[in-house]
């Protein structure tokens, strides 16, 4: 049962729950949440595997494209190929935890407060357009999704700063990104949490820069608290200073190392839920960059000892991942900062309904104009590294952040590794950054 949202021109999936009456998720809700394609795949006129959408025919596909991609294709900056819609089944432990804890979770009185959450998807039921806090619930689904990973290493992680008009690569940065979840763990030992954890950290992100020379050995550690109303702690180790510096968290809206991305942009949204007003805008079938990594056009630019190859990039300036896009059920979510001095006026996130990951964000500047688009490619784990196979966890696989106004982009090619050995707890300590200097 679908209908069009007036003014958006997109197809909306029927709202599953009774209007205005949020309820505890049923078994059926949970099945539908995690297996939306069990009974039928989404369809749209003209959208079939192999279809190439380009400047010439984009008008026929506006209903399945987000405004950002519509614009790029219309301008001839890129063309995309449709891939078959596939199910990205979620890790069974996570699904089971969702079932066990269904109905126990509720929003607190204020944004950023969550009561009764243990593990799994907090709000597996279909979002209700009449629920004024439906957007906030989706934000929680994203926060506690499997995409937060119990432990993940993205290493190596190659970033390029590119002039979109000329295609000139202005800067290359080689990173290692490491993520660790302290609580609500379901897939990697220890489960359900890492103890002791006196500060009640939820998650930590450790970043190290290996190249180029001027930022080599820069390290960043961000510690996020279970209490969303508490500000992150962030520490920066500058290789040339050999000293860990406390960061004020205001730097999360800074262009990260001069790229087109803010720390707050990481993974679609990487900030406090309580910092935003969340608004659910509807659910639609949209083309999103979900694919099987090993079946994509891969780059020979970087060579790995294990033969791993990275997603290739193409399109204008080489700013677009050369991947297939599949029609997927997507929740459209808007976040607007509470802080009126925030450099962003609002973001529109396209959140995959099955995995709760964000694969597209449209970032608007303070004037309200479209500023940047963030495209994240997600691969099926069974078509990636052997160690990721069968994990039921969707690896982050490529990204591009395009600054439409500056005609500039930052691209990321990476190797995501679901490997607990690469994310020991000790890696996320401040002392590790010092490394004995």
């Amino acid at each position: 049962m679908t209908r069009h949202i007036a003014g958006h021109g997109v197809i909306v999936v029927a709202l599953a729950c009774a209007a205005g009456t949020p309820h505890a998720a049923t078994e059926a809700d949970i099945e539908k949440s995690f297996f939306p394609y069990m009974h039928a795949l989404p369809t749209a006129p003209g959208v079939a595997p192999g279809t190439v959408i380009n400047q010439g025919n984009v008008a026929n596909f506006e209903g399945v494209l987000d405004p950002g991609m519509q614009r790029y294709i219309r301008e001839g900056a890129v063309e995309i190929t449709v891939g078959a819609t596939t199910s990205f089944d979620t890790n069974k432990s996570y699904v089971d935890a969702t079932k066990v804890n269904a109905g126990k979770v509720k929003l607190g009185a204020k944004p950023g407060e969550l009561v009764g959450y243990v593990a799994g998807r907090p709000f597996p039921e279909e979002p209700d357009a009449k629920d004024p806090r439906a957007g906030e619930k989706l934000a929680w689904n994203n926060r506690y999704g499997m995409n937060a990973y119990d432990g993940l290493a993205i290493s190596p992680f190659y970033w390029k700063y590119i002039n979109m008009d000329s295609g000139k690569v202005e800067r290359n940065i080689l990173f290692g990104f490491h993520f660790l979840r302290y609580t609500h763990r379901v897939s990697q030992a220890p489960v359900p949490e890492i103890t002791p954890n006196p500060s009640k950290l939820y998650r930590a992100t450790y970043v190290k820069v290996y190249e180029p020379q001027d930022v080599k050995n820069t390290q960043l550690l961000i510690q996020r608290y279970e209490d969303d109303t508490k500000l992150d702690d962030a520490y920066l180790y500058l290789g040339f200073q050999r000293r860990v510096r406390r960061l004020s968290t205001g730097q999360t809206t800074d262009a990260f190392l001069g790229s087109d991305i803010m720390i707050e942009d990481f993974e679609g949204y990487n900030g406090r839920i309580s910092d935003m007003n969340w608004k659910y805008q509807g659910t639609a079938n949209i083309l999103m960059p979900f694919y099987n990594h090993n079946d994509m056009k891969l780059s020979d630019e970087y060579k790995e000892p294990d033969g791993y190859k990275y997603v290739a990039f193409g399109g204008k300036g080489g700013c677009f991942p050369s991947v297939t896009w599949q029609l997927r059920k997507v929740h459209i979510l808007e976040s607007s900062p509470i802080d009126t001095n925030h450099p962003v006026s609002r973001r529109v996130h396209y959140m995959d309904a099955q995995t709760s990951v964000i694969s597209m964000s449209l970032v608007h500047d303070r004037k309200g104009d479209l500023w940047k688009t963030y495209v994240v490619g997600w691969t099926h784990p069974d078509f990636h590294l052997a160690k990721n196979k069968g994990s039921g966890i969707t690896p982050f696989d490529a990204f591009t952040m395009i600054d439409i106004q500056a005609k500039h982009c930052t691209t990321g090619q990476l190797k995501a590794q679901l490997d607990a050995q690469m994310v020991p707890v000790s890696l996320f300590n401040v002392q590790n950054m010092r490394g004995g200097n």
């Binding site: 006196p198 290996y210 001027d214 080599k216 200073q241 406390r246 960061l247 001069g258």
Partner: protein, 681 residues
């Protein structure tokens, strides 16, 4: 097709041959911080850099043409051990290209102030010039015959051998930062020590260097080309904690401050490289150190806990303050040392020393001292012994609430020299003998002698640091404090002219990223401010008949720093300005700089540093002329000074004012503009 390490792998085959370099995978690089994954050996991974730093200094001309080649090499050695080496070699062409200022032809003949000239007879001096010149040459002061003529015993030892200590290759002490202003100054040899060995002493890595050693400072018997050379390993323990070991030549960095050091005192610093303007990473002098960290991780009440033990078992080294005659002489101290050492060895002329009329302050005659009368006699560098090694302990943690802190303790040797006046072994210039033999001071013990040995005393430090953020201000706060026992200060009220004082040093720093629209609307500009406070406990000051007597340094001093650093064009262009203000010295330095990363591998930096002071008279302090070691000859009787040693407080610039002017005030005439290029192969 590029390989995974193409953006980091050296392309010079010659270097690949020198080190058995092979292509290291990015995975290896990315995993180097992972303690559990280093069980196998890996190929060498190395980066090679070339840097040229060229500076031009006001008045002096070229002040630096330094060319540096640096290799940074890493390798997993197996069994969890990892090796890291940084090899650096540099050649500074300034000694060849500006040899008249800093090289073989530096310095020349000097003249010295002689304020008593109108009161003096035109008698010939050793230099052949009459004594009554307002500016006399080196060798143009009161000597033995003149001394005898004015009533000193004929045995007086005034005068020196001008052939052994010629008026050539010299500069007037302090001429780079102050005028004599009726004070006691003297000539300082400034040429490399193979060219002119006068006053050359090893003060601990500087002071006795020849031209080659100055040009290529890393290639010495302390193997300074090994900037770092260590192995490290993390041992996982059964209870989930870790023991981290790091053994070898290394830097150990404590504290949370920039530019000036409070807790970061484990490694001495080489200020000869670029005064205070290089990153500390590049100027800390690596030491052979064993450090162990017991990383306990979280507990029920603390989010992180670590205990670190640092044993610096290297042979002692002090800070390198720069050899006199080279471009960077911190505090102008080495010029004072070299000039004073030359006075001890060979004697020399001291401007404005002998009061005319005798015992009356107002006009002074230049005086030729003979050898072994005044000056620096000996440098006592601590030899290697177990008891001379240095040991530190640090506990570092993060509380539940996110407050990061450290508690530190260190026992070490002072990295700055301390001057100890000695009382025996010097020649009384007025009698030619030793001691006081002349009535009414016959038999009075000699003290306050203007003759010193240099020592590096042991210092014990306890301190701590912390940082936290203030969300409402969008700022991070850093604080650091240290209390030391054993530091020594020039104290003209003491017989030995120094005293041991406890010192409290604290700093508070604020870091705030701020969007400044005219710089960038998307990239925050970093604003970092620090305020240092130094307090000398039991600071001693007395009023003497001619001025203040006591500790030269300020009892309380404050230094403020401000750094504003912007980032443009994807961080490839970074303008910044650094300002440092020494409040009591009334000295300011402003250092603008812009960095441009032309490519990932090639960076160009343009910059300058300018210094300003609000006058200099406040630097003057008790300057030794009225120490009265040899009464009655040195007694200011008109001021009521008794016939016993002890200072009357007559002020002047030399030699004490440098301790009040500080590193900025003493470099006030050394405005530099520079360009640096750095390329990674």
């Amino acid at each position: 097709m590029k390989t995974a390490r193409d953006i980091s792998r050296p392309k010079l085959s010659v270097l690949a041959a020198a080190l058995p370099l092979t292509v290291g995978g990015a995975v290896q690089a990315a995993d180097e911080n992972l303690p559990d994954l280093a069980s196998s050996t890996t190929p060498w991974v190395a980066d090679v850099y070339y840097e040229n730093h060229t500076a031009r200094r006001s008045r002096a001309g070229l002040a630096k043409f330094r060319n540096t080649l640096q290799v940074e090499a890493d390798r997993q050695m197996g069994d969890g051990w990892a090796f890291r080496g940084i090899l650096r070699g540099s050649w500074d062409g300034v000694y060849q290209l500006n040899k008249d200022e800093y090289g073989r032809n530096a310095g020349g003949a000097i003249t010295l102030e002689n304020t008593a000239a109108p009161l003096l007879p035109p008698v010939p001096t050793t230099a052949g010039t009459p004594l009554n010149l307002t500016q006399v040459p080196h060798g143009g002061g009161i000597n033995n015959p003149i001394g005898t003529a004015i009533g000193l015993p004929p045995t007086n030892a005034l005068g020196f051998d001008l052939a052994a200590n010629p008026n050539d290759g010299m500069r007037v002490l302090g001429d780079r930062w102050h005028r004599p202003e009726r004070g006691a100054v003297f000539g300082v040899p400034v040429r490399p020590c193979d060219r002119d060995s006068r006053g050359c002493r090893d003060f601990g890595g500087y002071g006795d260097l020849n031209l080659r050693e100055l040009e290529t400072p890393e290639f010495n018997d302390r193997l300074d080309f090994l900037r770092e050379f260590y192995a490290k390993k993390t041992f996982p323990l059964a209870d989930g904690t870790e023991l981290f070991l790091k053994l070898g030549r290394q830097q150990v960095v404590w504290g949370r401050t920039d530019l000036f050091r409070v807790l970061d005192v484990i490694n001495p610093v080489d200020y000869s490289r670029n005064n205070i303007y290089d990153e500390l990473q590049d100027i800390r002098i690596p030491m052979w150190i064993a450090q162990a960290e017991y990383r306990m991780g979280a507990s029920e009440s603390m989010q992180d806990r670590n205990v670190q033990v640092v044993w610096n078992f290297d042979k002692f080294r002090p800070n390198n303050l720069g050899q006199c005659g080279t471009p960077n002489v911190m505090l102008d101290a080495a010029c004072f040392f070299r000039g004073f050492a030359n006075l001890w060895d060979n004697g020399g002329t001291v401007a404005n020393f002998s009061p005319v009329p005798a015992g009356t302050a107002g006009a002074w005659a230049a005086t030729d001292f003979g050898p072994h009368q005044i000056g620096v006699r000996k440098v006592h560098l601590p030899a290697w012994s177990l008891s001379n090694t240095q040991l530190g302990v640090k506990y570092e943690g993060i509380t539940q609430g996110g407050l990061a802190f450290s508690l530190n303790a260190l026992t070490y040797r002072s990295q700055l020299p301390s001057l100890h006046a000695f009382s025996a072994g010097a020649v009384n210039p007025f009698t030619g003998g030793t001691g006081n033999t002349t009535p009414p001071a016959a038999g009075v013990p000699v003290s306050h002698l203007i003759a010193f040995d240099i020592h590096y005393p042991r210092v014990n430090l306890v301190g701590g640091s912390l940082d936290f953020q203030i969300p409402d201000a969008n700022a991070a706060i850093r604080m650091e404090g240290a209390l030391t026992h054993g530091e020594e200060f020039v104290n003209t009220a003491r017989r030995e002219l120094y005293s041991k004082n406890r010192v409290l040093r604290t700093v508070i720093g604020v870091d705030r990223p701020t969007f400044i629209p005219f710089i960038s609307t998307t990239r925050a500009t970093q604003i970092s401010a620090q305020l240092f406070w130094q307090h000398i406990i039991d600071h001693e000051r007395h009023d003497g008949p001619l001025g203040t007597v006591g500790i030269v340094d300020w009892e309380d001093n404050f230094i403020g720093t401000l750094l504003i650093k912007g980032f443009l064009a994807g961080d490839r262009v970074s303008p910044q300005v650094m300002v440092a203000r020494d409040f009591r010295a009334k000295a300011l330095t402003v250092a603008p700089q812009i960095e441009w990363s032309v490519t990932d591998d090639f960076k160009v930096t343009l910059g300058a540093n300018f210094k300003y002071t609000n006058g200099s008279s406040h630097y003057k302090f008790d300057d030794a002329r009225s120490f009265n070691p040899y009464p009655p000859f040195t007694t200011y009787t008109a001021a009521g000074q008794p016939f016993v040693p002890g200072s009357a407080g007559l002020p002047g610039f030399e030699p004490t004012a440098r301790f009040r002017a500080g590193p900025i005030g003493t470099a006030v005439a050394e405005d530099d503009i520079y360009v640096m290029v750095r390329y990674k192969f």
